[in-house]
């Protein structure tokens, strides 16, 4: 049952094949067995079992709350959860137990979802590897997959020590690993420059970044308020649509959410893509792009074309400025948003009390890692009166140009853009940490960031396995608030691709595969060539 999608599990619950408590216990047991992945910072076993019990009762009475009732989920540890520690993977918030829950968490729980735990991330979501957490890095479940191990053995005989584990990507790596390892059916991530889509691509998952303003940010501990969006990680596009359907809509607690009522999200089953126009942005063909990703990208374009869609090359001329522009806007907001962490009201407090200033300095030096402190310093510099015009204002103008690029393309009749999500597949941690966080973030966000600048919905869909046996994702970017259309196209693509399910090997061998997949035959559908 665990190997199923959310929709299938939901059907199983409704048909009584399994109870929420049974499902919850299976997931909790799998979380324990996969602890070495470090996907979870906090496992909320008691909470989950209590919620499961409630759900049991509802199912027994035939009063299920809907598709999410009894479904185990996980939430990135930068969403506030009432009564449950919320750390942002930082010393600053270690031990911080919020008195309220984020709107998105509320919405999921109101629908009967079971919260299994809080997932690991880069400190305050600043990173693209999920390696910069005070709780240690997250390991990519694919490091232990049969697909990867088999290829690896061919290349490096005998060397299978644990040190060559792969990164999940980030910063929502914990959520991605949790879903990818079947410990839950969906997880919330957050996406500011690609933090949901990037790990989704590396872990073979669907990673959805909804339109800015469609989903409430209330309770999401911010990185960049003007770009942050709660993200959704699932194993199928349908599942992402179910979760989005629950999360979308105006929140009186978030003034940046849209006022218009959101229609229930229904994905029409589309077999015909011949009326679609797919744009391929030429600027996304960068020299750093791996050959394998490039060829999968081309294949995907051909897939649409052969199904009758119009596939055209388009230009987003300001894309190349996106990274530097993001650097200014992101660090400026970070400097501002992090100002509240002074040790007075909550979180870590240093024990130097010579003066208030000394207390602040000690608290912040001890509480934040180098990456956070570095961004605060840069941001403070950009916001100084003498620099504001030259940096912040200019970056805002560039942001407008980037957004206009998209508007122009969509106005010219393009329905959706097709791009890579990442430059290449997941790389081993040892290789990843050769470069610093800033360099990595700049490289890894190159395809994903612009959608955040423009507030557009975007989704990463697994497109195939690399020659190393690792997932590669492709990204679709849609028109603002056309999330439903985006999902519909993504689902068509998902159906064509038939991405293979991860198969576990040691040390995941401890995990009984029959527990995950039940009696089903292991699905291992080869890529359509």
């Amino acid at each position: 049952m665990l190997g199923r999608t959310l929709r299938e599990a939901s059907a199983g619950l409704k048909q009584g094949h399994i109870t929420p408590t049974e499902l919850c216990q299976k997931c909790l047991s799998l979380i324990k067995k996969t602890k070495f992945l470090n996907a979870y910072i906090t496992v909320t076993e008691e909470v989950a079992l209590k919620q499961a019990e409630e759900s049991d009762k509802r199912y027994a009475k035939g009063q299920s709350l809907g598709d999410l009732d009894g479904i185990p989920i996980a939430v990135k540890d930068n969403f506030s959860t009432s009564g449950i520690e919320t750390t942002c993977a930082s010393n600053m918030l270690r031990g911080y137990v919020p008195p309220y829950s984020a709107t998105v968490v509320h919405k999921l729980l109101d629908q009967g979802a079971l919260l299994l735990g809080k997932t690991n991330l880069d400190e305050f979501a600043m990173g693209s590897g999920s390696t910069d957490s005070v709780f240690g890095p997250v390991k990519n479940p694919w490091s232990y997959s049969k697909q990867y191990r088999d290829k690896r053995k061919q290349n490096l005989q005998g060397e299978t020590e644990d040190s060559d584990w792969l990164i999940t990507g980030g910063s929502s790596g914990g959520s991605a690993a949790a879903v990818s390892a079947f410990t839950c059916f969906a997880a919330l991530g957050s996406d500011t420059g690609g933090s949901t889509r990037n790990p989704a691509a590396h872990c073979g998952l669907i990673g959805l970044k909804p339109s800015y303003g469609l989903v409430s940010r209330h309770g999401l501990i911010p990185l960049v308020n003007s770009m942050d969006v709660p993200g959704i990680l699932t194993r199928s596009v349908d599942d992402a649509a179910i979760v989005l359907g629950v999360l979308a809509g105006h929140d009186p607690k978030d003034s940046t959410t849209i006022q218009d009522p959101v229609k229930p999200l229904m994905l029409p089953s589309v077999n015909d893509v011949s009326k679609l126009c797919i744009g391929i942005p030429k600027e996304y063909l960068v020299p750093e792009l791996s050959g394998e990703v490039r060829s999968l990208w081309t294949k995907a374009a051909d897939l649409f074309e052969s199904a009758g869609a119009k596939v055209i090359e388009v230009s987003l001329p300001h894309t190349s400025y996106s990274i530097v522009c993001y650097h200014v806007l992101c660090t400026a907001e970070v400097a501002s948003n992090m100002a509240r962490f002074d040790g007075l009201e909550y979180g870590h407090r240093g024990d130097v009390d010579l003066s208030t200033e000394a207390l602040y300095a000690t608290t912040r030096r001890e509480g934040f890692n180098d990456v956070v402190r570095g961004r605060i310093l840069s941001g403070t510099f950009f916001l100084l009166k003498e620099n504001y015009e030259n940096y912040f204002i200019k970056a805002q103008k560039v942001r407008r140009l980037i957004a206009n690029d998209f508007a122009n393309v969509f106005n010219s009749g393009v329905d959706v853009l097709l791009t890579p999500t990442t430059l290449c597949e997941a790389i081993p941690s040892l290789e990843f940490i050769k470069e610093d966080n800033r360099t990595r973030s700049a490289q890894d966000d190159v395809f994903t960031q612009a959608a955040n600048m423009a507030g557009l919905p975007a989704i990463s869909v697994p497109a195939g396995l690399s020659s190393q046996g690792l997932p590669i994702g492709l990204q679709f970017i849609g028109r603002a608030f056309c999330d439903q259309q985006l999902l519909t196209i993504a689902r068509w693509f998902e159906k064509q691709v038939q991405f293979p399910i991860i198969q576990f090997q040691e040390p995941m061998v401890e995990v009984d595969c029959s527990e995950i997949f039940g009696n089903e035959k292991l699905a291992s559908v080869p890529l359509k060539q």
Binding site: F79, S80, T86, C88, L93, P98, P99, Y100, A102, R217, H218, G219, L220, I221, P222, V224, N225, S226, P252, K253, D254, S255, T256, Q259, A332, E333, A335, S336, A339, R340, F341, D342, L344, E345, Y346, T356, E357, Y360, T380, L383, L384, K385, Y388, F392
Partner: protein, 558 residues
């Protein structure tokens, strides 16, 4: 010679700051004699002891001072600017703090509609242009009572701009009211901070966040004022307007109205000098004192070849002087940034434009709708008083300036048949005099409007003499609850109507005082006054002095 105002060492003049150089656009008012915020005659300007004894030096150049104000008025609203927390003065510490107010991570601001309406209404009352689109910004600084590390304010595009405020000052001899105008640069919505209580003995600071996030209107006034009194009167007028609108209770003692003053001095015809900012002036008296002290200090420093630093100072009310503030020595860079969690604040004016596209009529605030709801402003009320009751303008100012006095006056007028002039005199002299003597507010008066109304009706109908009326008032004051009629009948204070008895009294007085008769006959008619006084005494104020006078004169003439 022009009054040597603002001149160093101008001696002998009350307050040392009695006018402005000839040809100057503005004249500074002399200290007034009418009441102001319960401080009759206390808005006199500071008189630094060092300067009073000096004579103006010959050829010394004149100085002009300019004063601009930044006034923070707490918006009268049940909840805070961006959160649902209640707003109460003197609630237990940290009892009115929402998660947002305490800046818990992940919380977001939600703008309070009531605060926006209050800002628009205040803007309209101050003749401002209301911006159809305004923006919010973050102003950063680290302080223990600012939990988020920034204040949300409106730096770039405030809600209202380019207004003006007319206020009155008392000038000349005899005193008369003159109208002054100060330009209002802008009104912005912003959050208040919490309160820090520093315990120097234990070297610790206690923080109360009840006030953190309360909505403020920051009213920025251009440097169009020239002395402490003008500033104080402008603030008083603003206070009256805010109270009339109900947009702020504007109680200075409770910190609902706080004033920062920007002050500089220069020679006439030259550019403005370097300014200092005196912060946190929390009473009208200290506001005027601090400004005048600061003007004198700057002039003296410059005369002595010193220089003025662009600095922040505070007023030490005990010593009566301004001192540099220690914690704000360096120039702060507030690192302003747009507030990303609040979309632009969009208003519309149904009088001049239709609803903006895509806007929800329920959501968007209609400026015209607020314009229609504007109550009568104090200046209009005063004009009406002058026209309706033939009152002198300064009396109308006094009636409005004293909290509750206008209402008291109007209640008396409603219930009495006495002439408005009589009522004005009694309310402003006898009644207000008694209040002042005992430092009472109008609301604390032992004499009710009806009691005074009845008294004045009796006086007007000549049932009692004016001397008896004063006696009745004393009785009413000391034994609240009695009516004027009761006092009059208990003490038999009615005017004696018995003509024969009065004639008999006069006859016997004339007989007892032959000297007076002789004096009058010798051509000193005023000598009769002595007898009138005696008659009053003999009748215990019950005789109408005019009747007595008439009888005496008749008898003397015969």
């Amino acid at each position: 010679m022009a009054a040597p105002v603002l001149r160093l060492g101008c001696a002998g003049r009350r307050g040392a700051l009695a006018g402005v150089a000839r040809g100057s656009r503005r004249r500074s008012g002399a200290p007034n004699g009418f009441t102001f915020g319960g401080l009759r005659g206390q808005i006199s300007v500071a008189r630094p002891p060092l300067l009073t004894a000096q004579e103006p030096r010959k050829g010394a150049r004149e100085w002009e001072a300019v004063v601009g104000l930044e006034i923070h008025a707490q918006i009268s609203s049940n909840s805070k600017l961006f959160s649902g927390s209640q707003v109460h003065f003197a609630a237990p510490p940290n009892s009115l703090v929402s998660f947002f107010d305490a800046s818990l991570p992940g919380t977001l601001p939600v703008l309070n509609r009531r605060c926006v309406e209050a800002a628009v209404m205040t803007g309209l009352a101050l003749n401002c242009r209301i911006n159809k689109k305004s923006l919010f910004d973050r102003k950063h600084y680290f302080y223990a009572d600012l939990p988020a590390g920034y204040q949300i304010t409106q730096q770039r595009l405030p809600i209202a701009v380019s207004g003006r405020l007319a206020y009155g000052v008392c000038v000349g001899t005899p005193r008369r009211m003159a109208v002054r105008t100060v330009r209002v640069k802008q009104i912005q919505l912003e959050q208040d901070s919490g309160k820090s209580l520093h315990d120097d003995v234990r070297a610790q600071t206690l923080v109360d966040l009840n006030r953190a996030g309360v909505g403020l209107l920051e009213v920025v006034m251009e440097p169009d004022m020239t002395c402490g009194e003008e500033a104080a009167m402008a603030v008083r007028e603003l206070q009256l307007i805010l109270q009339a609108l109900g947009t702020s209770q504007a109680n200075m003692a409770e910190g609902q109205l706080r004033v920062d003053a920007n002050i500089s001095v220069h020679h006439p015809g030259e550019p403005f000098g370097v300014r200092t900012e005196v912060k946190n002036l929390n009473s009208a008296k200290f506001l005027a004192k601090a400004i005048d002290y600061e003007i004198q200090r700057q002039m003296k420093a410059l005369e002595n070849g010193g220089e003025i630093l662009n600095e922040t100072r505070s007023f030490d009310s005990r010593l009566g002087c301004t001192v540099p503030m220690r914690d704000k020595e360096g120039k702060q860079d507030y690192r302003f940034m747009p507030e990303p969690n609040l979309p632009p604040l969009v208003l519309y004016d149904s009088a001049s434009a239709s609803l903006p596209a895509g806007a929800d009529a329920q959501q968007v605030i209609d400026i015209d709708c607020i314009r229609q709801r504007l109550p009568e402003l104090p200046s209009v009320t005063r004009d009406k008083l002058v026209q309706q009751y033939g009152m002198r303008p300064e009396h109308s100012f006094t009636l409005l300036n004293e909290v509750g006095l206008l209402e008291f006056f109007q209640n008396v007028i409603k219930e009495t048949r006495a002439e408005p002039k009589l009522v004005t005199n009694w309310v402003l002299n006898t009644f207000l005099g008694h209040l002042k003597q005992q430092s009472l507010a109008v609301g604390e008066s032992p004499v009710s409007p009806s009691a005074l109304a009845e008294l004045l009706t009796l006086l007007d109908a000549k049932v009692i003499s004016s001397a008896a009326a004063n006696q009745v008032f004393e009785d009413l004051w000391s034994s609240p609850g009695k009516t004027a009629a009761q006092v009059v009948s208990e003490q038999r204070l009615e005017l004696m109507e018995d003509r024969a008895a009065l004639e008999q009294l006069c006859q016997s007085l004339l007989e007892e005082h032959p000297q007076v008769v002789t004096d009058v006959k010798k051509g000193n008619p005023r000598a009769v006054n002595k007898l009138i006084g005696l008659a009053r005494k003999a009748t215990l104020n019950r005789a109408d002095p005019t009747v007595i006078k008439k009888i005496l004169e008749e008898k003397l003439a015969s």
